[in-house]
């Protein structure tokens, strides 16, 4: 059965993943929009940067974040100057790391959706004197629902499953930064296989349900063909 500690890590994981997903949608939407529309020479560079977390091994990414956000790192000195202290071993630090780590999972589906929206609908809206923000919210957002759904769920699920980065940046503090993937790993390392199975099983059921809901929802969406 799941212990109280296990439940605590599950709750913490969902908290981190929810807030990370919100942050990712807030940051990722304008970024994806810009990437989908721009002809700037920076586009390729930014695209490559967004995809980098897919390539770097998570523990390597985690180690660099540990160094950068530490007292001797550039980011660490900046956050200390702001009076925030350093970020490793804190919940905000975990979220910063998660946002970076899951960034491509949110930006890429959004970018694909935005690219698939033709210029015609936007031009039509412009002739009706809709401002650019108005056009975005009354034309782009409704047309991009499946894209937002995919982005949100992939971002959430990927953050739930992250391990290497949080292991490095989080410091495995019970109740504060010990998320479910680390807890499963701890059970395995401590040879508590039964506990590990329970928790891993719960995570598996959860992940499958999330993905099932996603794909069922996408099937009922009329513009689902705009997704890969």
């Amino acid at each position: 059965m799941l212990t109280a500690d296990d439940l605590e890590t599950l709750l913490l994981t969902f908290k981190v993943a929810s807030i990370t997903t919100l942050l990712l949608l807030l940051l990722g939407t304008p970024l994806a929009w810009w990437l989908a529309r721009t002809h700037s020479k920076w586009k390729s560079i930014i695209n490559a940067l967004v995809a980098l977390p897919l390539v770097l091994p998570p523990t390597v990414l985690g180690f660099y974040l540990l160094v950068l956000m530490g007292p001797a790192g550039v980011v660490g000195q900046f956050t200390t100057w702001l009076g925030l202290g350093t970020l490793p071993f804190t919940l905000p630090g975990l979220m910063v790391a998660s946002v970076l780590y899951s960034l491509p999972f949110v930006v890429q589906p959004l970018q694909a959706t935005f690219s698939a929206i033709g210029g015609h609908a936007l031009e039509a809206a412009a002739t009706l004197r809709a401002g650019s923000l108005d056009r975005f919210f009354s034309v782009v957002v409704p047309l991009s629902k499946p894209g937002f759904l995919t982005a949100a769920i992939l971002g959430f699920a990927h953050t739930v499953g992250e391990f290497g980065v949080v292991l490095m940046v989080g410091g495995n503090i019970p109740g504060k930064t010990r998320v479910v993937s680390v807890q499963i790993y701890n059970h395995v390392e401590a040879l508590e296989y039964a506990e590990a199975h329970w928790l891993a099983g719960s995570l598996l059921v959860f992940s499958f349900s999330v993905l099932l809901i996603l794909y069922t929802a996408l099937r009922t969406q009329p513009v689902a063909h705009s997704l890969k």
Binding site: M69, G70, A72, L167, N172, N186, V188, A190, L191
Partner: protein, 256 residues
Amino acid sequence: MLASRFLHPILAVGLLLITPSLRAETVLVAVASDFTRPMTEIAATFEKITHHTAKLAFGSSGKAFAQIKSGAPFEVYLSASEKYPLELEKSGFAIADSHFIYAIGKLVLWSAIPGYVDNEGKILTTGGFKHIALADSSHAPYGVVAEEVMKNLGVLDKLRPLFVMGENIAQTFQFVNTGNADLGFVGLAQVIDINNGKLGSGSGWIIPDNLHGPFRQMAVLLKTGAKNPAALALVDFLKSPTARSIIEKYGFGLPE
């Protein structure tokens, strides 16, 4: 002499049978991450003397244990504790009675900042730090010993909220070395300057053995290596004066 004490009779016979066909072989070794530095040097010396090759895989003792039980092709296993090798012998993954202590672990309370940790560890009582790093005591031997030290000093409950835990001792060292944790319990081998036997950088307190239980690190010959001359040679070499002097140089204690 040592060999006769530690080698199983069947193995000794096996060794004799193999000896005529002495060739350079390769042995795959799982090594506890705290023993990384000495083992790298031991393997290099071993290769020079015996012409066998030792391939080393570093990681936490618990991980290697789980891998071996799942059929990993390791032939010799150097654990940071006694628990895992004995368990492997019991479950038949290791050769019965092939276990031996190869080193005594030494713990250091260490900080990357010079002058931060006094040489009596008074800082544990006076406090004033935000994070103290240690290996996860749920599975890492160094974490278990670190908690024993804090318990014996009567500061365990007070310090627990400041814990940040590394998955293994190498990661714990990274927490402290990058300055993210003000101080932490690491292995002496990680911070020793082998040229003078003192700390290479930062400041630290080498913790006296009487503040914790025995910290014996045990190795074992695995079933997979029973017929590999390189595995048998490495097991012997680990007990040799040459290897012992390397082990001692990196700050480990020696078994009797």
